[in-house]
């Protein structure tokens, strides 16, 4: 066993302070290079008051049924209204679906938008529009992949470009899986940085925080490599890395050093790694979110936001792949059983847990929570008792930093099939998010060819802004 310095050191804590200083010395002096910051600085200046320090996006890929969730139509025709009723909420005069009892108690903190429109009925292309604000060319293309001309950057990528990384963590994280069709085979367009270039890709984490011994993804050691040995290696790197050739401090060498340092921190127990120690949460909190992959992923998102991440997107993770519709929101069959059995109850629990938890920690005022999906569901049921795709109108909910609570924006017709005015496009929704983050829509970011790109072509929905 390699133990280079002293043999009695504790294993889990890794290195002694002296050794850490050595490892650290690889990168000291590396953070002040003006060139490194120059490009960034062009974009990072927030031009508006920063209402939200961070954003959590809950993306329920598959589509949230507007009738059973936030836009119930109890007086609608029976072939469209469904079998579930509506319940009153904390906001007088506002009703939501009866399967969301805990959420109903929180509407004073929420702004519900009932007239979200993509005009697109395919998961990947409508999802592209919700992620980038730009309609896919062409619309309604299922299993579309990334590529020209549909390479507009996602919200995650813009945030990665606009906000500096903090606390040894990247500005933007996407978890616990990438959004893709066909069991992860075909990733959606618009989930990455597109033509902004790969360096603005969010950090994609594939993980399951509900696992017993969950650790920061990428920081787990290979099975045949013990912690002791890894610590030995890190000491060796601290010792040898310094002796070897004092290379000149170019921007590229410096950022290499910085990332190496961050990676070591993550592995050896720095601030960043602690964010992933979800086991440190009290059982009561973990139970409140629910011990599902979805619940614990959202809890992890809250921890990451606390640790300094600017945007965490939690993509819906199925409770049980063996359920109808693979346990997801794409309820082409047995719609009623699905929404009542495992979709809305889980969502109600997780969403209300997040809002309450943030509120109790005093973080809700500075954290914007977006509950979105790529579209809603058809007003009419199909032959398999399912509801199909519906991009003509659907609901999203915003809450927290920068958002006025107790607001409902827009109304739909009696079938919840079309908006009666007040249409909100994905570009408007994203402009609203940017405004909460302190960035006007015309803020420019620069693509790989240094061409200026405005972050949004929409208009913030002023009625929901606090």
């Amino acid at each position: 066993m390699l133990q280079f310095f002293n043999h009695d050191r504790s294993l889990c804590d890794g290195l002694t302070r002296r050794d850490w200083l050595r490892v650290g010395s690889i990168s000291l002096g590396g953070l002040s290079l003006p060139q490194l910051l120059q490009r960034r600085a062009q974009a990072t200046e927030a031009t508006l008051p920063v209402k939200a320090k961070s954003v959590i996006v809950l993306f329920n890929s598959g589509g949230v049924p507007q009738h059973e969730s936030l836009d119930p139509k109890p007086d609608g025709p029976k072939e469209t209204r469904g079998i579930f009723g509506a319940i009153p909420t904390r906001t007088p005069g506002t009703f939501i679906g009866e399967l969301l009892p805990r959420t109903a108690l929180l509407t004073d903190k929420m702004a519900i938008i009932r007239t979200m429109v993509t005009g697109d009925n395919a998961h990947s292309t409508s999802g592209y529009q919700m992620l980038t604000g730009i309609p896919h060319i062409p619309l309604h293309r299922e299993n579309a992949g990334p590529g020209k001309p549909n390479d507009w950057p996602s919200l995650n990528a813009y945030v990665q470009a606009l906000r500096p990384p903090r606390g040894g963590l990247p500005a933007s994280v996407s978890l616990p899986r990438r959004m893709a069709n066909n069991n992860g085979q075909d990733p959606w367009p618009g989930t990455d940085a597109g033509f902004l270039g790969r360096k603005f890709d969010p950090w994609f984490l594939t993980c399951d925080p509900s696992e017993a011994n969950f650790q920061a993804p990428g920081s787990e050691l290979p099975k045949d490599l013990s912690t002791t040995r890894m610590n030995g290696r890190l000491s060796l790197l601290g010792e040898f890395g310094r002796q070897i050739n004092e290379l000149e401090q170019t921007a590229s060498v410096q950022s290499y050093d910085r990332y190496q340092q961050q990676a070591i921190n993550l592995i050896a127990g720095g601030h960043a790694r602690k964010a992933f120690d979800i086991g440190n949460e009290p059982d009561s909190v973990r139970d409140r979110y629910g011990r599902t992959k979805q619940g614990q992923s959202v809890l992890l998102a809250r921890r990451l936001v606390e640790a300094g991440v600017s945007l965490v997107q939690v993509n819906w993770s199925s409770i049980d792949k063996n359920k109808p519709n693979s346990g997801g929101w794409d309820t082409h069959e047995q719609h009623n059983d699905s929404v009542k059995g495992w979709l809305l109850p889980v969502m109600d629990q997780v969403y209300s847990a997040l809002i309450e938890d943030l509120d109790q920690r005093g973080l809700l005022d500075e954290t914007l929570v977006c509950w979105v999906a790529e579209f809603g569901h058809t007003p009419k049921f199909n032959a398999r008792a399912g509801r199909d795709h519906w991009g003509r109108t659907f609901c999203i909910a915003l809450a927290g930093g920068g958002i006025k609570g107790g607001v409902v924006h827009g109304t739909t017709d009696r079938n919840a099939s079309d908006p009666l005015g007040d249409v909100v496009r994905p570009s408007d929704y994203l402009a609203t998010v940017f405004q909460c983050l302190g960035f006007a829509p015309e803020t420019m970011v620069y693509d790989v060819e240094n061409r200026p790109i405005p972050i949004s072509r929409g208009h913030a929905v002023t009625s929901v802004l606090g």
């Binding site: 390699l2 133990q3 060139q35 990428g218 790197l237 010792e239 000149e248 990332y259 015309e442």
Partner: protein, 720 residues
Amino acid sequence: MRLNLKLLGLVAIIGTLSQRAWAEPVSFVNDVQPILTKFGCNQGACHGAQYGQGGFKLSLRGFDDAADYSAIVRSVYGRRIDATHKDKSLLLTKPLMEVPHSGGRRLARNMPQFETLLRWLNEGAPGPTAQDRKLKSVVIEPREFVMQPGQKANVVAKAVYEDGFEEPINIKASIDSMNSPVAEATQDGALTATGQGETVLMVRYLGAVAVAPITVPYGQSQGLGDFVKKNYIDDLWVTKWQKTGLSPTAVCSDEEFLRRIHLATIATLPAPDDVRAFLADTDPNKREKAIDKVLNRPEYVDFWSYKWGDLLKNNRNSQQKKGMWSLHNWLRASFRDNKPMDQFVSEIITAVGSPFQNGPANFFSNGYQEEWTEATAQTFLGVRLQCAKCHHHPWENISQTDYHSLKAYFARLGKKSSWEFGVQGGEFVIYVNEGGEVGHPRTGQILKPKPLGAEPVDDPVDRRRALAKWLSDKNNTVLARNLANRYWAYLLGRGLVMPIDDLRVTNPASNPELLDALSKDLIEHNYDIKHLMRTIMQSRVFQLSAVEHPASRVDGDNRYFTHYLPTRMTAEQMLDAVDFACGTSEKFNELPPGFRAIALPDSNFPNEFLDVFGRPRRAINCECERSGTPSMSQALLMISGGLLNRKIADGNGYVAQLVKANTPIEKAIEEIYLRTVSRMPSGEEVAAAKSELSQASTPQEGLEDLLWTLLNTREFQFNH
């Protein structure tokens, strides 16, 4: 002092010129439009936007005089001009902020520009006429600025018209410094040296642009030390360093040199025995010999075929597998034969036939006329032309007409499907039609084929042949300049012009004389690219150490190459280097074992390592598609990744072999150093490593840990 005298003289000239100009009636085209451009009225964020602002739309940067005249004088019932109270016209009161204006205050009543606009209104606001003077050129005086920090100077911009008329244009031209941390210019033409370094002053007027270099020396050069000039490249850098006040660092060691030429030309680490032999060689010309040797290695073909595969976007998504292999094999043949690069380019742009059978024809598999035009401009001319598709280039003298005239070379090219490989074979054929023209997108006028910045040339059979002939003309340096700049960047980590595919007047080289000399040399040697590479690598500048001279630290970007710029290995280089060091090999789908990453035909071979380290998708023409930026995922992959660990601990890997062969410990340490950082370990390093190894539970584990450590040093991961 000389400068001051010159300026006094100029002031006198301006006096007379402006009196002449005053007598002239104000011209909409030559006076009003430039002022609107100078004040930003027609920029993209303001009235030049697609739908204008506040109902008032101008053409972007004023390229459409007739439409703009109509927008100002006629549209919305002429409300922008007050016929009775001219100075109350909205055209003036808006930018004066006498009435609310979202664009803010842009103008004041005491400005000469206000005077001009008002005079134009008083003269009856005449529109564009055929009598408007045609601009010949813009001249900046003085032609070059050498300044001390804090010093001020006055710029005089002049327009020369085709009829011989000259006038000062400071009040209506747009005057900018390209790099304000070096020097700042006001719109009136007052220049202040705000920092140190070099930049250019740019004057734009009526779609023409002129530049004048500005040098603010970093200080006194601290001499050349032991720098020895080896060829003309060194001569030209010495001149530059003396002018800018910089000093070169020392020459690099033999080990660094050998590693550097290997990585730069064949993306392959030198073998331990090659390092030993090179160190033992006492021939004073051994570096020259090593350069020749490495240029003749078979990996040269692998690496440069891969590099040009990137540039030509060789990928199966747009070309299918057959097309992808066909282009790949043609690239390999070209680099194996060291085909002259002008011929290489000509074969591509004149290619016809089936892309499945004729490799270069795949250039036309990607998209249609516009893609071909843009790819030709960016890849072969080093010009980013995309913006001119829809509007005049924001800075350069490149118009929509230029874009679409270049496009006209491809106007007669067609694609038709073929059944050569069966009905479902997917083959198609590139062929030349008898007719086909390109019209100007706005005027509809048919445009003759014309290369950028040159006289029209045509060919009766295939227009592209004229373009190829123009490109390879001995008197035309466009292609050679692009290649010289690219290869300089490939070998030294950054271009003389940066970004390397953005050659334009307003983005001059950090050493323009050198770029001229390199391109002349390349043409004189019949576009022999190996000759160019050899010449560059033989220069002392290429062989400088990567540790900078303290006095040159001010040049943080290493624009002046006073030392060698450390560059992270590319994704493919790194994967191969890791395999080389570990004695393993990566297996790619459908390819035999041992196939190296730098020899892959496209980037559609799923590989996490290559993706994480930023290989390009080959979807766009830009060099920038490849990312060399370090990231967190890369660091994690190298530090704790299972992939790397499996390679290090591979049962048949290099460490396992060393252990099996009972290699003495000192020899094993030396081998691992040579395999990773391509040098002998120092006595201190051997001693330290030995003491660590003595504590390891097994020799194998100890050596594995040493290998892991070296793979994670920047000395391994960078070419330096």
